[in-house]
């Protein structure tokens, strides 16, 4: 077992090195650099060169990589060239927004997608089913920014029920009440995803409903409701729940548009802005953290598989 873990960790470290080289190379291969964005349009090439030298951006790319990797090994992801604060602080700050937004969105997805999907399946073929499926298709197709801007117009400008944009942390003045800032964005982000979960719930319930054991349950005289809840829904839920995992991961990356429309300080917007500004330390830092998270999750999964099933070998 120990050798399995050691081998797995070593392979993870190797993946990490390769990934870090790829991240670094790709980011520096994009044309353009941060110095003109920092200095403004008026700067001459000589001034830009001088700043480039001061920031070490004139060094050969492998030298820059080694210097960066050395700092990362000491736990230092560097400092943003723009907001002049440690990259780790920015990631921590952005992660709070992104994580809370994705979590709240998941709540809406589950609350809207699953029950409505169930109703659609139970009323399969009826006008209600057709209507709900139609609405779901529409929600899945409408662009997020359009939904977001309309949400702002209706609920923030006209009705003034919610703030239009921004998000002060729940750890600041206002505490948990600050979650109201995330209500409209999370509903916006939930709309297309809830529609997909609705369709998935409906489809898998209809699949399960055709199984022999459901027919048996009905044949032995069970009333329709217990058949649906105990036999169909429970089994159909397996497929739906496994889709929740993917959806949650997808939400983190899909959130960029929603974060932009609602001016939320999330990770997605941080990455996009840093790419536009060529704020190399921030882009590298965020991507590296994401890679590490994925690798660690994989490692944990591999190890738990091995614990559960000793026949699993490292190939």
């Amino acid at each position: 077992m120990l050798s399995f873990i050691v081998k797995r960790v070593l392979s993870m470290l190797l993946s990490l090195v390769v990934a870090s080289v790829i991240i670094f190379a790709f980011i520096h291969l994009i044309d353009g650099d941060p110095v003109y964005i920092m200095l403004g349009d008026t700067a001459t090439p000589e001034q830009a060169d001088a700043l480039r030298r001061s920031l070490g951006l004139d060094q050969p790319i492998f030298v820059q990589y080694v210097l960066w990797a050395e700092r990362v090994l000491h736990g230092d992801l560097g400092t943003s060239l723009f907001f002049q604060a440690p990259v780790t602080t920015a990631i921590r700050d952005g992660a709070e927004t992104s994580f809370l937004l994705a979590s709240l969105t998941m709540v809406w997805i589950v609350l809207m997608g699953v029950p409505i999907g169930m109703i659609a399946a139970m009323k399969h073929g009826s006008w209600l089913d057709q209507g709900l499926s139609g609405v779901a298709m529409m929600l899945a197709s409408v662009p997020t920014f359009w939904v977001g801007l309309n949400m702002i117009l209706i609920f923030a400008v006209w009705l003034q029920w919610f703030p239009s944009s921004g998000y002060p942390s729940i750890f600041e003045d206002g505490g948990l009440a600050n979650l109201r800032y995330l209500l409209l964005p999370s509903l916006t982000l939930a709309a297309p995803n809830a529609a997909l979960i609705l369709r998935l719930t409906r489809a898998s319930m209809l699949d399960v409903a055709r199984e022999d054991y459901v027919r048996t349950a009905r044949a032995k005289g069970l009333k329709p409701w217990p058949v649906v809840t105990r036999h169909i829904f429970r089994n159909a839920l397996l497929t739906v729940v496994s889709a929740f995992g993917f959806t949650f991961a997808a939400l983190l990356s899909e959130a960029v548009v929603t974060e932009t429309v609602f001016a939320l300080p999330g990770i997605g917007r941080l990455v996009v802005q840093s790419i536009q500004n060529r704020d190399y330390p921030v882009i590298q830092g965020i991507i590296l953290v994401v890679v590490v998270i994925y690798l660690v999750i994989n490692l944990i999964v591999d190890i738990s598989y091995r614990l559960l099933d000793p026949r699993v070998e490292l190939q």
Binding site: G40, L149, Q273
Partner: protein, 519 residues
């Protein structure tokens, strides 16, 4: 009888005016947090080094220079008290105001000014324009500095009054150690009416009222005169989406939103929940020609043919929309400005395809593609380029657009082999010498013997009338050698909350949040 009553009437009038002024001052309330929705996160706030928009808009509340400009773009003293200039124009002695405090509590003295001007001269984005010819800069007393130049510079005061990339005064201990890298956040210490609070990435940059601020006594005018900070805090919040910036003010979440798109102008003008704040001074698009390399190098006749083909009014209508937001006029400086000139402007907006074709042939143009570098980050640039490419095609001039993002464009334009024309825009500076096409290091690299001689003549005198006459000749040469083509004057517009007071009509570029308050 009349004779005796006049002074009385005058004093009564004065008393009434003073009373009115006092009431209007009382009417402005202290307090509150002003929330400003900016188009993006700023670059570092080291205003000596940067001309980047959002950074300057924020930084000018923290830092001040020796001079600044009033509403007519005339330099006025800010941290300076006054100056004397030697007869030959080469020695400038500036006296400083006494009792001015930095945000760290230290009093500003000549040592800080010398250190700051030195740093600006060495690394400041516009420092070389003045300090390159400086033979010495000394503190001649605690509140007096002497700047000696090897030749007179007629633009010296305008250069010292420049806000973006200009010589802000930093404490000497910060200026002395500062290099060409932006100073750290902990060193954002100036003399302005607001001091730096905190910078939360992607959330806001917060400024806090500086209670020990010592204001000038003259009434506020442009950036000059008395500055009173009424807000407790000013937050600059990055809100990249224009729709959100608009809704934010309508919903009361922001008090000021910058750079709203032209297509929303009519709708917002009729909306009582917002007040339109149109810039009183334009930005103008510039299509730079490559004077260093390629097909347009030294071929002034071909450049004139290109300009002949263009209808600037069409490009302005497409890129700015309602006519209230643009003016197709050829003077580099707008009407009403001291530097406004009609020299050469007949060539500005001809839009004659047949004549352009003829001129291009005569200039030896053989259909070789002309490389146009443009970015989509500024929609107006792209719209204008698209209109011009079509107009040039009608004149048989073949243009290939290379569309990239702004960061890439800024890098590529430094490489002369990559482009023949690139697109940018320009604001109205305090002095023509700050216009980028006169900077021979700026991409475009206009260094013909004619312009070099004219520039020398232009900076060699402090006589305004003489300088204006030379500027007319420079503008005529601008239309003859076409180092760049002016597209037209575009007036950006912002929207503000009706709750704000003191942000009336303005002729300066950046909004200022001193002398403004909540109603």
């Amino acid at each position: 009888m009349n004779f005796t009553l006049k002074p009385l009437a005058r004093s009564l009038g004065l008393a009434a005016a003073l009373l009115l002024a006092a009431t209007s001052l009382q009417a402005q309330n202290k307090g509150g947090t002003l929330r400003y929705a900016a188009i993006s996160e700023p670059a570092p706030l080291d205003v000596m080094l940067t001309t980047a928009g959002v950074s300057v808009a924020i930084g000018m509340h923290i830092f001040e220079g020796l001079y600044t400009i009033d509403s007519k773009y005339v330099p006025q003293p800010m941290l300076a008290e006054g100056e004397t200039i030697s007869d030959d124009g080469k020695t400038i002695v500036i006296t400083l105001r006494q009792g001015v405090k930095f945000h760290n509590g230290k009093e500003m003295t000549s040592a800080d000014v010398v250190a700051s001007l030195n740093r600006w001269g060495k690394f400041g984005v516009r420092g070389k324009l003045l300090m390159e010819k400086a033979t010495s800069l000394e503190a001649t007393g605690p509140y007096e500095v002497a700047l000696k130049l090897s030749e007179p510079n007629g633009a010296w005061k305008s250069l010292l009054a420049t806000i973006e990339g200009g010589p802000a005064i930093y404490p000497s201990e910060i200026a002395d150690k500062a290099t060409d890298k932006p100073i750290e956040q902990t060193d954002y210490i100036g003399t302005g009416p607001y001091k730096f609070g905190e910078w939360r990435p992607n959330r806001y940059v917060e400024l806090v009222r500086f209670d020990d601020y010592v204001a000038r006594s003259e009434p506020g005018d442009g950036y000059a005169g008395k500055r009173v900070a009424y807000f407790d805090k000013v937050q600059f919040i990055p809100v990249p989406d224009v729709g959100t910036r608009v809704s934010g003010v309508q919903a009361g979440d922001y008090d000021y939103s910058e750079t709203i798109s032209g297509d929303l102008f009519d709708q917002l003008a009729a909306d009582p929940s917002v007040v339109i704040h149109r810039a009183g001074v334009p930005l103008f698009g510039l299509f730079f020609m490559n004077s260093k390399e390629g097909i347009l190098k030294d071929n002034y006749a071909l450049r004139r043919a290109i300009q002949m083909a263009l209808g600037k009014d069409q490009a302005m209508r497409v890129s700015f929309g309602p006519e209230a937001l643009w003016k197709a006029q050829g003077s580099i400086f707008p009407p009403g400005n001291f530097w406004y000139s009609e020299a050469g402007i007949e060539a500005y907006n001809q839009h004659d395809a047949a004549k352009a074709k003829e001129m291009a042939l005569a200039a030896g143009y053989d259909g070789t593609p002309i490389k146009l570098l443009v970015s989509t980050n500024y929609q107006a640039h792209f719209d204008q380029a698209t209109v011009f490419v079509q107009q040039l095609a009608e004149a048989g001039i073949n243009v290939q657009m290379n569309v990239v993002d702004w960061a890439t464009l800024l890098k590529m334009r430094g490489e002369p082999s990559q482009w023949d024309i690139f697109v940018t825009h320009h604001g109205v500076p305090p002095d023509p010498i700050l216009v980028t096409f006169l900077n021979d290091g700026y991409p475009g690299w206009w260094t013909s013997p004619e312009i070099t001689a004219l520039k020398k003549e232009f900076t060699g005198t402090a006589d305004l009338a003489k300088r204006k006459e030379v500027w007319d000749r420079i503008q005529a040469l601008f239309y003859e050698q076409v180092p760049a083509m002016k597209v037209g004057d575009g007036y950006a517009f912002d929207i503000i909350s009706p709750k704000l007071d003191g942000l009336g009509e303005t002729t300066v570029i950046w909004p200022t949040f001193w002398n403004a308050s909540f109603k």
